[in-house]
Symmetry: C2
């Protein structure tokens, strides 16, 4: 396209009144598992905000249930796992995901969206470390200490867990691409809790195999995490086409850390969308000025906050399109 | 001393059975406000672990109540503020802290500990941004969005808030030093949520005034935060003698970012203390190898986790003393 493309992580969701109306009638997992509802939630922000991509509405834990994991999403808490994974035996009990059998509703949603969205659809999967953290902790965690303790104490079982999750995530993303997703994003929300040394030893091999395993498909591969300033070079080494950057690292510095072989996605602080428009405008303009040219997808550094006014996001899309075109051609 | 000094953030607390016994009889704020109990909690880890410093047992919110803030510590939640600070009027209503009147029990605890602890006592205060986050959010927060929204929307009121908190924290730390604290640590637990640009604009001036205001006293000044990899240079610029580093940035790299004018404190991942001893030993040894020489205080990158076995901490102290001496004299 002729300007900087823009979409927002969690663009579908609690900041939109039409999404809140949908949620009054349906639970999150129900929406994820019903193709028409998942498609509706996916398209709401596309209609309202004018973004350049749709991101499949789903939850990171969706593929875990067909792998044999008992889970529920508890309001105010997040995903809760009935029997956490804390031994080699628990790891071996995880079934490999066969997407056509385990998550047919996701693929049906993707097929429908690919045909009708009018913008490219980004497929979506949780990365092995972040999925493992949910599985080992039994739910969301502040410090991921049980996950790390398992990783340090039982490295062989840990690597088996990463391998099993990695194979399933690869199958999941390949199936989404085959169903029509034009790009895929691997969400590694919690990986920024690790040092570079631990990332390289305990996580990089499985993530590298996912990106390698997608290389024959014609879909850009995005790798996203938060608080990953020290990991940007390692994340680029894992083989994605695009690395997500949060607001802590300016994009020119991020570009130095990743090297020029990957594009960057980011990196406005979601909290800035709660600021007066003049502040938003000045910070977004600064991000565009520091971005590599080309090779930048404008986004937030993490998901849209529920209290965000959608009209600010719409204005932001217009601003990025205008200033992005000036930057490329001005 | 003849080796690398070592202490642990949150060394007093839930990992010690004798502390849990104390807590069965007393609430956290009761312990903080009763000099004998605060002294007992402060000394428990000194007796058991062999650390080189005592850190005053207190809570970051203790000085807020005499500033006119209604607060409670809710089990499982943390500090909860009855009437959050969200306007210029709320800021102006905060009373300056006069430590001798507002927190006499803290100073009494410090005086007693300075006389009897047998190791240097580190005084303790929350930094303006982190205190402001509690005040504005009304309690602990995942993304500090209300705090940032206030900061962006009302910069004048924000700077007034930082100034008021900074003056009170300075008075608080000066009073602790006068009562016998041999060093002081400014805790800025949440400041790593800010970009360098925001830190420099919205936080650095008030923190700089605190360290300047302590410069005439003969007490080393430590500045600590988490997830502050991108801020280490800015934090050093604020004027402390020591900067705390979490586990994400290796100490040699941290040293490059801060420059040689400050010492470093850190940086073992607290989750590593849940690992088998061989892993702890190898990681602690690596930290000592990467540390500046001299100018290193061994510590964790954040507080001791409740599930930590105290005997691991004791072994770690012995290891640091042995390997630290080898490093300095070997």
């Amino acid at each position: 396209m002729d300007t900087t493309p823009v979409w927002f992580m969690r663009q579908a969701g609690r900041s939109l009144p039409e999404y809140r109306a949908l949620r009054e009638r349906h639970g999150i997992l129900d929406i994820c598992r019903t193709p028409e509802l998942a498609a509706e939630a996916t398209l709401q922000p596309v209609r309202r905000l004018g973004v350049d991509a749709a991101i499949l509405f789903s939850d990171i834990v969706v593929p875990l249930e067909p792998m044999g994991v008992d889970l529920a999403i508890v309001p105010g808490v997040g995903p809760v796992i009935e029997s956490p994974v804390r031994s080699r035996r628990d790891v071996d009990a995880l079934k490999p995901l066969v997407p056509e059998e385990g998550v047919p509703y996701v693929l049906e949603a993707v097929r429908g969206l690919a045909a009708t969205a009018g913008v490219p659809l980004i497929g979506f999967g949780g990365a092995p470390f972040t999925l493992a953290s949910y599985l080992v902790e039994g739910g969301p965690s502040k410090n991921h200490s049980k996950t790390k303790a398992f990783m340090y104490a039982e490295p062989a079982a840990w690597h088996r867990l990463m391998e099993r999750l990695g194979e399933s995530v690869l199958a999941y993303l390949r199936a989404q691409a085959a169903a029509g997703a034009a790009a895929v994003q691997l969400f590694d929300s919690w990986v920024g809790e690790l040092s570079s040394e631990d990332f390289r030893r305990y996580v990089l091999p499985s993530v590298g195999r996912i990106f390698d395993g997608l290389a024959d498909l014609d879909v850009p591969r995005i790798y996203f995490g938060v608080g990953t300033g020290e990991l940007l070079g390692d994340m680029a080494e894992a083989g994605p086409d695009v690395v997500g950057v949060d607001w802590r690292v300016p994009l020119d510095e991020a570009h130095r850390r990743t090297g020029p072989q990957v594009a960057l996605q980011g990196n406005l602080d979601p909290a800035l969308c709660l600021a007066p428009w003049k502040v938003v405008e000045s910070r977004a303009t600064e991000i565009l000025a520091r971005a590599p040219k080309p090779g930048h997808i404008f986004n937030l550094g993490h998901g849209v906050l529920p209290e965000t006014d959608p009209s600010i996001l719409h204005r932001l899309v217009e601003l990025v399109h205008m200033r992005g075109a000036e930057k490329l051609y001005g």
